[in-house]
Amino acid sequence: MELICPAGTPAAFREAADAGADAVYCGFRDETNARNFPGLNFSREELGEAIAYARRRDTKTFVALNTFMRAGHEELWYQAAADAVRVGADALILADFGLMAHVAETYPEQRLHVSVQASVSNPDAVNFLVEAFGAKRVVLPRTLTIADIARLARQVRCEIEVFAFGGLCVMAEGRCSLSSYATGKSPNMNGVCSPPSHVRYREDGGDLVSELGAYTINRFPREEAAGYPTLCKGRFDIADARGYAFEDPASLDVMGEIDALREAGVCALKIEGRQRGKAYVGEVVATLRKALDARPEDRPALLARLRLLSEGQRTTCGAYEKRWR
């Protein structure tokens, strides 16, 4: 199976390529990119240099143009696609069907992957995108069990990539409006989940309080591990109870299920984390590379060290081993 690794900067890109990534995914420094955070991402020139670096190591480069186009401003996304094709992207990762149509018509030879943001999770939807736009791979949303993935893989006519490690989204990828509700900006349209312009942290009697816009997201006592300031990971008072209404601050880790995923028909494992630093990227990619090549009984020891790098310093298999139907 391929290991698909994140990069938010050229330095992180080189870390990922050097640490054993089969492919590195990244995006431009604008709202075509669902990780549109300040100081992050690539200029056209940087992307060209990164692709050249990757090719010397036999590593592929996937470019994520994974937000939804704004009506009347499609040119921003079209230009991004044109530039990514021009500098030699091995694949474009797209969420918007309109952009998929544009790319399929304008660059018929360009490899097209369906982003997780497209939230495509059943055989009819996948096969439609294969037939309509020539999609070669679908990145499945983190809502399916391994058995679901195996059933789907038998019925679709393209490669399957799944998230194996990193941040865990609420289960409505590409359709989540929580950030929009609190701030007016969303990952889907603006490329920012919990935009940092709306995030505040403050100390209150030893507690760390995180706020998003007008909302208090969480209050972490002194000894408790912290999480991201996203509404989906918020701890709220609901009736008489205080708790996580949507999901706990924990990260995804299904590397213990590598063999089951391979048998299910998965061809690529994706690491989330383009917003993370190069130290994280290097550490996680090197460890998961070793885990992929290791015997099953040796994997837990390798993977244990990654837990402390994770949100809330906890990991979960999430929906892959869903037991709450």
Binding site: P38, G39, L40, P196, E203, L208
Partner: protein
């Protein structure tokens, strides 16, 4: 790894201009080797960033627009748009991109307050650069360069060993 207290205490007594002179020299040396260091900041280049080591009686104020660094006595509210607080060696490993800021934040080893957009931009700018303090600062040490670089590299190894132990 904490900055040794016997070395930190005298810093509270030394006149600021003396320590600041050395810090400005190091900052200038870094800027010479990494002239594009703050390019990624974009609109946040005009912001002021304070670094308050928990184990030193000092605050470092960085102004990328000039670019300049100012040293001041430790205070509760330094005149900055964004403030980051952690042990000196942790802050230095972040400067080099050798530690992951999110992981340190999750572990509560790092505190960030103020303008998060500006701080995130700076974090990403530093992470995208390839600062190597023993190498970069050694270049400014003249005839003592090899000695300085070796000593600084040894301190860094020790600091990072502490970080890795924490991860395990």
């Amino acid at each position: 790894m904490e900055f040794p207290r016997p070395l930190a205490a005298p810093l509270a007594l030394l006149p600021i201009p003396i320590v600041e002179g050395a810090v400005k020299l190091m900052f200038s040396s870094l800027m010479k080797r990494h002239p594009k260091l703050f390019d990624r900041l974009g609109e946040h280049r005009a912001k002021r960033y304070a670094f308050r080591p928990t184990d030193l009686p000092l605050v470092f104020l960085v102004e990328p627009a000039r670019p300049a660094i100012t040293l001041m006595r430790r205070q509760a509210n330094p005149p900055a748009d964004a403030l980051v607080e952690g042990s000196l060696f942790r802050l230095l490993t972040l400067l080099e991109g050798r530690s992951d800021a999110d992981a340190l934040f999750f572990a509560r080893s790092l505190t960030v307050t103020g303008d998060m957009e500006a701080m995130l931009a700076l974090r990403n700018a530093l992470d995208g650069s390839e600062i190597d303090l023993p190498r970069d600062l050694g270049a400014a040490a003249g005839p003592f360069a090899p000695l300085f670089s070796r000593a600084a590299a040894a301190i860094r190894r020790r600091a990072l060993a502490g970080e890795n132990a924490a991860w395990n």
